[in-house]
């Protein structure tokens, strides 16, 4: 009898809880639907945007820099009168580089803060976690902070990528190698065993295939695996690799140093994350000749209008802050979003932001290569600048080059 009583009470409790949730869900749902009359986050004087960064996880340093850079540009826009009189206000949430937390942060920004759109979510996995949400609820996600090709391919109506994707970077570097006249080429690759590495690997394979080059070895590396690249390099050397692509981030340094120690000197090529001058600096003589690429002009560019404006604004608003690539990267994304808001017109809605972004053709107001979107084109940049390490620092060997 005692048991029966407990069961009955438990059932009643569960029913009450379920009813409460249903009631609450019903109460919330009208607010979610985006009606033409009321666009969330938009008033006559303000547009509220949601930013999701890694502020306390493994990429916390980058997250903070991106946020700071974006705020710098928005402050400039706001002090120049805003976009159609609306000041851009950015709310930032922390996802700690965790896809589940990224989704939670997006829901919080949309449901509690009522933001107009999402902007600059850092990382491939955390940005990918939002695809279903933005599609279902028709929320524009502008300038996700990743070079992953999956941002724009396959096409997603509400996601606008800015960066030249990793696979294109691989193909462009392959073209360059063949174009400069290297012969008897055999590709090898050491890649990080995740979305980033596989995206790069796709580009390497496609680049090789386009020129009839054999890929003689593909060696995965797991962050968290053995901190030793000797065996991988020995294996690639035995296979006769002449050009080795490194789809790695900071581990690039260890590979270059290990190869130097082995007396093995193929042409090494790296992707955008390895273009950080710190990599060349840390690898010292082992990095000489290392080719990488970068999908936007560096903040130190002497004449590019974006770089000049960035340095001016930093000196004006925050002279203490050291200029840096990722700071400038946040700034770059903000320039694209501001242009999109401008093209969307005065009567702002989420759908009008989408059509405003689609109107962007050959936009050169950000440090990216010219950005063009279309009704089914969400790729943004498609070109990249090749760099080669000489005397310990990566310096440009081409201007923006595309696949054509």
């Amino acid at each position: 009898m005692e048991n029966l009583k407990a069961v009955v009470i438990a059932i009643i409790l569960i029913v009450v809880i379920v009813l409460l949730f249903m009631f609450k869900a019903e109460e919330v749902s009208p607010g979610i639907t985006d009606t033409e009359e009321v666009t969330p986050g938009v008033t006559d004087t303000e547009v509220l945007i949601g930013n999701i960064q890694d502020l306390s996880g493994p990429m916390a340093y980058l997250g903070g820099e991106l946020k700071h850079g974006a705020e710098l540009y928005f402050r400039h826009v706001n002090e120049s009168g805003g976009v159609y009189g609306r000041k851009i206000k950015m709310i930032t949430e922390d996802h700690q580089y965790n896809p589940a937390m990224s989704l939670g942060a997006a829901k919080k920004l949309l449901d509690q803060d009522g933001v107009f759109c999402l902007f600059n979510v850092i990382g491939t996995a955390p940005a990918t976690a939002l695809f279903d949400l933005v599609q279902e609820r028709e929320i524009p996600l502008i300038a996700p902070a990743t070079n992953a090709s999956t941002m724009s391919n396959p096409f997603k109506r509400y996601v606008f990528a800015t960066d030249t994707p990793y696979d294109a970077q691989g193909r462009i570097m392959s073209n360059y190698i063949v174009g400069r006249g290297d012969t008897d080429i055999k590709f090898g690759a050491i890649y990080q065993d995740d979305d980033f590495g596989k995206d790069c690997l796709k580009g390497i394979r496609e680049g090789a295939e386009a020129h009839g080059i054999e890929v003689v070895g593909e060696e995965p590396f797991q962050r968290g695996g053995a901190p030793e690249f000797g065996p991988q390099l020995t294996s690639l050397r035995e296979a006769g690799a002449t050009h080795i692509f490194l789809a790695l981030v900071l581990e690039t340094v260890h590979v270059l140093k290990t190869a130097e120690a082995m007396g093995y000197s193929p042409q090494f090529l790296g992707f955008a994350p390895a273009s950080d001058p710190k990599v060349a600096q840390a690898a010292g003589t082992a990095a000489e000749g290392f080719i990488t690429n970068i999908y936007m002009v560096p903040p130190s560019h002497p004449t590019h209008p974006s770089a000049v404006l960035y340095r001016e604004l930093l000196a004006k608003y925050d002279p203490e802050h050291t200029p840096g690539f990722y700071n400038f990267y946040g700034f770059a994304g903000a320039q694209v979003l501001a242009e999109g808001l401008n093209l969307a017109g005065e009567d702002l809605s989420r759908e009008r932001l989408v059509s405003g972004m689609e109107k962007m053709k050959d936009f050169k107001g950000s440090p990216h290569p010219s950005i063009t979107y279309g009704s089914i084109d969400r790729a943004g940049g498609t070109e990249t600048i090749l760099l080669q390490v000489t005397n310990g620092a990566p310096s440009p060997i081409t201007g923006f080059v595309g696949e054509g």
Binding site: P58, A60, P227, E228, E238, V253, K257, T258, G263
Partner: protein, 288 residues
Amino acid sequence: MITEIIIYGLSLGSIYALVALGLVLIFRATEIVNFAQGEMMMVSAFVYFSLYSSGMGVFPAVVLTLLFAVVLGTVMNQLVSRPLIGKPIFASIMATIAISILFRSLVGIIWTHEDLYIDPSVSMILHDFGWFRMSPYQGLIITVALAMVVLLYLFLKYVKLGIGIKATAENPTAAELVGIPIKRVYLTVWIIASVISAVAGILIAPQSGLHTTMGTRLGLKAMPAAVLGGFGSIPGAIVGGITLGILESLAIVYLPTEVYDVFPWVVLILVLLIKPDGILGTPEVKRV
């Protein structure tokens, strides 16, 4: 080529062995499974990095880092080990996991969450010795690891406190009854484990780079190394660590890329199936 691969494995395995040695030593004496062993190594590596970068030279930096490791071992003994002795093993696992997370965060706050690099003080260039190629750096790692093992062996065999450690490991109550100062034994064990980890950290840092997660990577490999050798056996930790390092290196080269990462674990499972107490472990008999 195969000898070159084996030497890569040997130097990597020596590092696994050192971390595993600390793990086993603590477990034998205190029955605490220290999941923060890799993190203790990481903290010491960062301390060494700062000292070395200040330009004081290698030798003073190493000595000061080892002194730091003594302090770290003492603190771990007082704050973590003491309250946990005699408690269920789960308590010690949870507590040391918590400590490992704490260490990673603290190092991130004090230093950085980014990778740091440190120059090796000896050359990493491979030299040809006829039938094998090896760098002075690899030679140093293997020699130092070997020296640590020999020193530890002599200490446990001939020094009174060392014999006390073995006695405490066998039977703490009996050891206490015959007058062995078991509190001092526990303290010594933690200090030795901390110093061994610090040595491993100083050795591996030029190759792995410094990162808050470097200890997790190595610590997680030291666990199977210890199990492979028979958890609780000191020579077993050495054999297990080196075996794991060599297997890992060979697997990278000779196995298809899809399977090489799981290969050492498959070997681990096989060893445990055939000999559940590890390669050098002795079966534990519980009297009822």
